[in-house]
Structures are given as C-alpha cells and as structure tokens.
Amino acid sequence: MNRRDFLRASIGGAAAALASSGASARPNLTPAPEAIGMLFDSTLCVGCKACVSACKAVNGLPPTLLGDDVQYDSARDLSHETYNVIKVYTNGKPVAKDSETDGFAFEKRSCMHCVDPGCVSVCPVTALLRHPLTGIVTYDKDACIGCRTCMTGCPYNVPQFDYDNPWGMLHKCQMCNQKGVERIDKGGMTGCAEACPTGATLFGSRTALLEEAKRRMQLRPGEIYNYPRGDVRQPSSHHEKAVPHYQHHVWGEKEAGGTNVMHISSIPFDKLGMPPLGERSHVSISEGVQHTLYSYMALPAVVLGGLTWLVKRNTDDEGDDV
C-alpha cells in the first residue's frame, strides 16, 4: 500500500474514533405523558410486609422459604419469585424508627419503572418496553432470548432471571398490569398500594405523586399531617401522623432521568441501598455512541465500500486465493 492509501485509512479511522467520543449523544428520555407510578415513604412504613404478601398473591408467586422446615415467606431480596421486598436499615442499637444513628428504617425494593429505562435500551429483541402512555416497563417472555443484558443495564439490579428453571424467564414487577392481571387497565391500582395500611406505598400519576412528595418536604417536622392511603388522587382513607424529619430529596425525581416509582425517607438514600446515580442515564450515552457509529448503517457502508475497493485492488495482482 502506498503512503496515500495509508493516510486515507488512518484519517478515516481517527475520524471514526473522534466521532464516537460524544458527538451526537442523545439526552435523557422524558416522563411518559400519562406516567403512572408509586411513592414510597419510608417513614410511614411499619414493616408489616402486607405489600410483599399482596404482591405474591396478585402475581401468583410462591413464598420464598428459608429452608425445608421454615414455612414463612422470607425473601431476602428480589428474585424470580419475589417482585417486591421490604428490607431494613439498622444502625447501632436499632431502637428509634427513622433515626440514622441507633435507629432503623424500612425500605421497599421493586422495579423503579425508570423514565429512561436501562433494561429497555439494551434489550436486543424488544422484550422489555416502556409503555408509551403510562411509562410502565413491561416484559414479554415470548420475545426474550434470556441474554440477561437487561440485568447488566439496570442500575437497581431489578430484573431477576430464574436460573433454576431450564425454561426460565426474567421476572420483575410490572405494576400489576401484565396480561392476565391488568389491574391498572381495569381502573384499579397496584396490589402493594392497595394493601398498605399506612399509605407508605401510594399509587397515582407521577405528577401527582411528585407533588405530594414535595408537599411533605415543605411541612414542619412535628406538624400533624393527614396522610392519604391508596391512590393519591382519590385516597380511600386518611390517617393523622406527625411529620418526621425527611431527607430533603425525592429519589427518582431526576436520578438517571428519573423513575416512576419514587422514594422519600429520613435516612440518606445511599444507606438505603440506592445506587450512586447522577442525572444523566448511562444508556443515553451508550445509545449516543451506537448511533454515531451505526446510524442508518451509513458509516459502515462507506467503510465497507472503501475496504472492498482496497482489497480488490490488492488481490487483483495475484488473482490469488486466501
């Protein structure tokens, strides 16, 4: 190859490399127009686990047994048979509820139904999709190939593969709206929000829930507030309780684009197991890189053209084989 060809090839390569460094990165996705979600208020949660039971009942899931003799449903974390779990944060002598030191608090773990879902972005076969209106992240086992890229792309490690089943699939909360359950489509709410006796899990539109969360931040600690239960837009009942010292932050308002399932608490979120997320979702960056390189397959086509020309020219002299 002469110098000219070499330079041409190198510049082409350098251009591709530079182009991949962030040129046309897409921004975070925005919330769906009729986004539906939930608000979990850790300070209201008493650890009764009614939501864990309700989730298992609505979704037809078996209890998670700790051993052959232990009959209680004792899930330690999300799994192929647990879509919702209550975990406890403890510190020192855990005597005071919602105290960061020498205290304890409860945290709910389930699918966050992200605004810019990592699982949806990375799935090669559109088995995971974000519903265009409600923003609910759904799963279709008939499309799924079980590659588990969704598990790597989820910042919260939500999707769980059933490794013990040779015909297994991925499992996660689908807001009780999957085929055969369809609670929201039928005008109802999620099982966990319906069962919660204290309104710690509240159902509703993302906008209304975010409003409610921010309202609680504005209240003075000690002030008596009438907490709603059920659907924040049409509460089934209320109960009075003194407002606690909240962390002035609504988790899921902005993290990696935001989530439909938001959390508020009196304990800092990193201690409750929330991942270290900034406002930019990583999948928006990876999609940006992919699109820069492969949009309409333009760049590969051009490169292929160049390569074909080069290879033909180099093999013509020999008329040779491989």
């Binding site: 190859m1 079980g146 910042p155 997320l277 290879v311």
Partner: protein, 384 residues
C-alpha cells in the same frame, strides 16, 4: 500446486485423547445445564448475570480469535503479501474461536430456543448494542466459513468451484475486516450501559469501543504469533520467526497507541489516584498494565523481535493483558452493589474448559487432514 498441505499425521494422539476426556466432562455438565437449568451448574446471580461463559467464551474468546481479522488487514488492506502463509491457520483458529463464542452465546442464553428473535426485523431494538454484537458475530462466522471454504474445496479438489469463489472473495474479505471492527468495538460499548457498576478505571465511556477494538486487534496479531510458535514446536516444523517478528513490530505500535489513550483518559479524568489506591482494583490494574508494558519493552528492540522465544513470551503477555483487561472490566472489579459476589462454580469452569478442549481437538484434526499449514519450503523462504 498448492502452497499448503495437510500435516497428514495421526489424529488420535495421547494429547488428543486427554483433551477428549476433558471435553466429555464439559459436555456432561453442559447436559446438566440444559436439563436442570443454569443454576445447577453456574454461580450466576442477580448482581452477576454474566459469568465466565459470557466474559471468557464470548468476550475474551472472540478477541483471542482475531487472528484472521488482524492478518486480513495486514495482507489485504496494507498489502503485506509476505504474511500470506500465516493466513489459513489464523483463519482456522478464528473460525474455531468464534465458533466457541457462538456456542458460548447459545449455552448462556436463558431462553435459547427463542434465539431466532434476534434475527426477526420486527423484534429488533436498534438502540441495543447487544443486537449489533449478536448479528455481527453471526454474520462474521458465516464470513469466516466462506473465507475458509477454499481450504475445504482444495481438499476435495473442487477446482471449478474454487475458481468461482476466488473471484468474489474480495467482498467477503472486506466484510471480514469491517465486521470484527464493528462487533469488537461494540463488546466494549456494552460496558457503558453497565454504568456505575463498572470500576472507574475501566469505565472509559465514549472511549470503550476504541479501546476494545484496539486491544482485540493487537490480540489478533499476538494469537498469530502464539499459534504459530506452538504449532512449529508441537508439529516439529521450522519456526516462522522472520514473519512473526514483523508482526511483533506492529504489536509494539498498537500497544503504544493503546497505552497513550488509556493513560491519557485516566489523567484527563483525574483517576490517577485510583491506580495507586492499594485495593483489589488498583492491584489488578497494575498487573494488567504490566502485562501490556512487558511486550512493548521486549518487542521494541530488534533483538527481542528476532528471537522466537522472546516473541512468544511477549505475545503471551499481550494475550494475557487483553484477557485481563476484559476480565477486570466485566467481572473482577465489577461492583453491582453490596452483598453480591461471584466466582465461577466448578461445573461452570469445566464447561468452558471442555469447549476449549473441543476447539483444540478440532484444530488438531483439521490441520492434519486439510491443507491449512503452509508447505515448509513456502513458509521458510524469507522472500516469498
């Protein structure tokens, strides 16, 4: 008169049988995987959905199989015809390596019976890096098979077909350069979506595709040196040091570029402190870097390049470097959050080792029965 010949020796040797036993053990556990599920054989869990079947068989395995890619660029893009004799063995190794990657992908797929969804346009998610990897690797395996077809046709003396094939081969070869560039870089891009779980020293974001393809390309040259050296020793042939040393020069250049970009990114993004943090990640980074620097230093001098032994050691070091780079990023320093841990289970390891054993067995068989190895006179002559 062909420049190549089958080695024509006995296929069933002691090493071959030994490999066969290992293969059988692996196949046994593989059967268990399909009967009882992955949980019975692996230690995969909610925080580590990808273990050695993905990271070694697919990510590392295909990088180790970049010999065909590296030589295709050298011989057909940069027109360095003297390396031509190295191509067929490299192609075979590539075909087998990518075959291992393909098999690894299928056995790791949780719902493998629905794999065809990957090829249905209405199911495809064009935002997905994994889609690109899947389609591109599948296409490249076909390309490799076509590129290897002349060897097969030669054995069965299908002259007419061979002639026709040679006329259109240039398109396939061009694809054989484009496709690995695409999917090897995408294997790096997959780390971006893994976000905060990837250790900052390996989370280079926009530079992931570049570093991935650069290391894969370099590993391609290194595997040619490795395979070439071991073949000449194992089959008692003359070493092709004069050819391999040329590749050594290329390796030096590539490693230099790689290290410049790698450390440049670390410095610019202020991550230098992490290199000396004294934890597992910093230790693995230093080992990995050392494995990159060693071949750079050794191969810089003509004496280092001209010596078959130092060539081999340098190549092995580079292969280990690229392997460790991938293992570190995807597995060893990956932190999905507190409470998660992963170390492959014994059956899991045996499946991978078994598949590699099969790969080697097939290599040995093909090389002895098909005209893959260059004739001794063809290869040894330095001015061919």
């Amino acid at each position: 008169m062909s420049h190549y010949q089958p080695l024509g020796r006995r296929v069933v040797t002691l090493p071959f049988v030994f490999l066969g036993v290992i293969a059988l053990i692996g196949l046994y556990f593989l059967a268990e995987r399909f009967i009882n599920g992955m949980g019975a054989v692996t230690n995969l869990n909610g925080g580590f959905p990808w273990g050695i079947w993905v990271v070694y068989d697919i990510v590392v395995g295909t990088a180790l199989a970049c010999g065909g890619y590296a030589l295709a660029v050298t011989v057909y893009v940069f027109n360095k015809g003297k390396y031509h004799p190295l191509i067929r063995p490299a192609l075979l190794a590539s075909l087998l390596g990518y075959g291992l990657g393909g098999v690894g992908a299928i056995i790791d797929m949780g719902r493998w019976w629905q794999f065809y969804n990957l090829f249905l346009p209405w199911q495809m998610n064009f935002n997905s890096v994994m889609l690109e990897v899947g389609l591109c690797v599948s296409a490249y395996i076909v390309v490799l098979m076509i590129e290897f077809l002349p060897t097969v046709l030669e054995k069965f003396k299908a002259e007419a077909l061979l002639k026709k094939l040679n006329k259109v081969l240039f398109v396939v070869i061009a694809l054989g350069v484009l496709l690995p560039t695409m999917h090897q870089s995408s294997l790096g891009t997959m780390l971006i979506a893994m976000g905060w779980k990837v250790h900052p020293l390996w989370q280079t974001l926009h530079l992931q595709p570049l570093l991935a393809v650069l290391t894969a390309f370099t590993m391609g040259f290194s595997i040619v040196v490795f395979e070439g050296s071991l073949s000449s020793v194992g089959f008692r042939r003359k070493p092709e040091t004069h050819l391999l040393s040329g590749l050594g020069r290329i390796i030096v250049g590539l490693i230099a570029v790689y290290l410049a970009i790698r450390f440049g990114e670390i410095l610019v993004r202020g991550k230098l402190g992490l290199v000396f943090a004294g934890d597992l990640a910093s230790l693995m980074f230093l080992i990995e870097t050392a494995l990159f620097v060693y071949p750079l230093v050794v191969l810089m001098s003509p004496r280092g390049r001209g010596n078959a032994r130092s060539l081999l050691f340098a190549a092995v070091s580079m292969l280990l470097a690229g392997t460790l780079y991938r293992f570190n990023a995807f597995l060893i320093t990956l932190d999905p959050g507190p409470g998660y841990s992963y170390f492959p289970a014994l059956p899991e390891i045996m499946v991978t080792v078994g598949l590699v054993a099969i790969e080697i067995m097939v290599f040995l068989f093909v090389v002895k029965t098909f005209p893959v190895m260059p004739r001794e006179d063809h290869a040894a002559a330095p001015n061919a």
